[in-house]
């Protein structure tokens, strides 16, 4: 079965490595359309954000309007330099350019009670190339391993 694999292990390893490098470094178009300006209202309460998942396109100018419904809450995004605080009656705005693609957690940045550490949301800046590249690398590694260690 599959005799053409025999004796070609170095070739398999080299091509898998090449494909991996390609999956990581091949430049892909970062986005399809033109960048937009969007305003997203986020409500914060103990212990969740509403909405908890935000989807934007790479290059968009995003304005977050944070309103708190009970106590002092914050919103900071991992990977972006964004950190605002809001309490009832004092809402907060922040504007940033989504110039990094991928999926980022955003968290409450002010201790707001017992379950504060679990007050987390998700920001997806699409197209999510890091995720796509990671999937490609995993698949290549899996297929390469199968081919490499294949026994007759």
């Amino acid at each position: 079965m599959m005799p053409w694999l025999r004796g070609r292990r170095p070739l398999i390893a080299a091509s898998a490595a090449l494909l991996t490098l390609a999956a990581i470094f091949v430049p892909l178009p970062a986005r399809a359309g033109t960048p937009q300006t969007r305003t997203i209202n986020v409500d914060a309460r103990q212990f969740a954000f509403e909405p908890a998942t935000l989807d934007v396109q790479h290059g968009d100018t995003v304005t977050l309007h944070l309103e708190s419904l009970d106590a002092l809450h914050g919103l900071s995004i991992d990977g972006y330099d964004v950190n605002i605080q809001a309490e009832p009656g004092k809402s907060a705005n922040v504007t940033f350019v989504a110039d990094k693609a991928g999926t980022f957690k955003f968290r409450c940045s002010v201790t707001c009670g017992a379950l504060h550490p679990f007050m987390i949301g998700k920001l997806t800046v699409e197209p999510d190339l890091p995720l796509a590249r990671a999937i490609a690398v995993t698949l290549i590694a899996a297929l390469g391993a199968i081919a490499f260690f294949w026994k007759e």
Binding site: L69, A71, L72, E87, G89, V110, T111, A114
Partner: protein
């Protein structure tokens, strides 16, 4: 034998001498302080609020409050003693020191919105004079609305309502031509308007022009500093229910008891300060009465124990700006 004595020495040292010296050090440290230390814990009202909520100290004592929070971010203020701590973060201890230099009861309160019941989070510092532990209760002058016999629970529709919101900016231009001779504390804007409209000398001016002049007069009488101070107090204490835009739509006011129970058709919530028909019929004294007494069946707290008269006038002059467009920058 010698080993036994050595072991005994170790045991005595670790179980007797060491703990005893710890306690002695604590006692010495406490005694060496020139202040009385009181631990004050902040919890959201549903979990007990301030603990303790009554702090009793003796006249002349130096008091050090060590304030900590068990849950969310709180604030601490004793307006009568000029004490203000803006932020008590969970896990931190804020220290405040003061000298109990006069006897009396001094209310304190949380100043950060910590939960829907935030405004219930109050307490009192009692400074007791040992020579005179039970003083006669102090007499206060009745508030202005009672002196003037203003019924703060009566409806106060404006007798005249302008076609659009009056503008103090436009009114400033008219100020030299239209003299508004009014007591802005005791007269309602619509009464002042009725008086001006009846004045034959002002016949050539349109209704809105008179309103603009009135708006400017209110702004001038209050002064920009008072309005700016009122803005801060409003943001701290009022905006959570009455809304940042004054429309009565703040997040903390959405589920107040007046809105939901008893009679759904008579839904009442936080007052809408942009409603000209209501606001122009109210004098500043009437608004002050509502603020200091609270109640109204809407969940409005009382502010008499925390606000000075000046605080209330400042807040009222800021609130007027929701109808009288002051044209002041929001940034302060």
């Amino acid at each position: 034998m010698r080993r036994e004595i050595f072991a005994l020495g170790v045991v005595v040292l670790s179980f007797v001498v060491f703990p005893a010296s710890l306690f002695a050090y604590q006692a010495w440290r406490t005694n060496a302080l020139d202040a009385r230390v009181i631990e004050l814990t902040a919890n959201v009202p549903a979990n007990g609020g301030w603990q303790p909520d009554t702090i009793r100290v003796h006249l002349g004592e130096r008091v050090r409050l060590r304030i900590s929070s068990t849950d969310v971010v709180h604030g601490f203020a004793v307006p009568a003693l000029g004490i203000q701590v803006d932020e008590i973060l969970p896990g931190h201890v804020e220290e405040v020191e003061f000298v109990a230099s006069r006897a009396g009861r001094f209310p304190f309160a949380c100043t950060r919105w910590c939960s829907v019941d935030h405004w219930r989070m109050r307490g009192v510092i009692e400074v007791i004079d040992p020579q005179n532990p039970n003083p006669a209760s102090p007499t206060f002058a009745p508030p202005l609305y009672q002196q003037l016999n203003v019924n703060i629970d009566a409806a106060h529709p404006a007798r005249n309502v302008p076609s659009e919101h009056p503008s103090a900016v436009r009114g400033a231009v008219l100020a030299e031509q239209i003299t508004v001779d009014a007591d802005t504390r005791t007269q309602s804007p619509s009464d002042v308007f009725a008086k001006l409209r009846a004045d034959a000398a002002l016949k050539s001016y349109g209704d809105l022009q008179l309103w603009d002049a009135i708006a400017f007069e209110w702004k001038r009488a209050a002064g920009d500093d008072a309005i700016a101070r009122g803005r801060q107090l409003y943001a701290r204490d009022c905006a959570a229910c009455h809304g940042e835009s004054g429309k009565g739509d703040g997040p903390a006011g959405r589920n107040l008891p007046g809105r939901t129970v008893i009679d759904a058709s008579a839904r009442r919530g936080p007052a809408d300060f942009t409603n000209a028909a209501q606001m122009l019929g109210a004098s500043d004294v009437l608004l002050q009465g509502k603020i200091l007494r609270g109640g109204m069946g809407t969940g409005m707290p009382e502010w008499r124990s925390l606000y000075t008269d000046q605080d209330m006038w400042d807040v009222i002059s800021f609130i007027r700006g929701f109808v009288f467009e002051y044209g002041m920058s929001d940034k302060k």
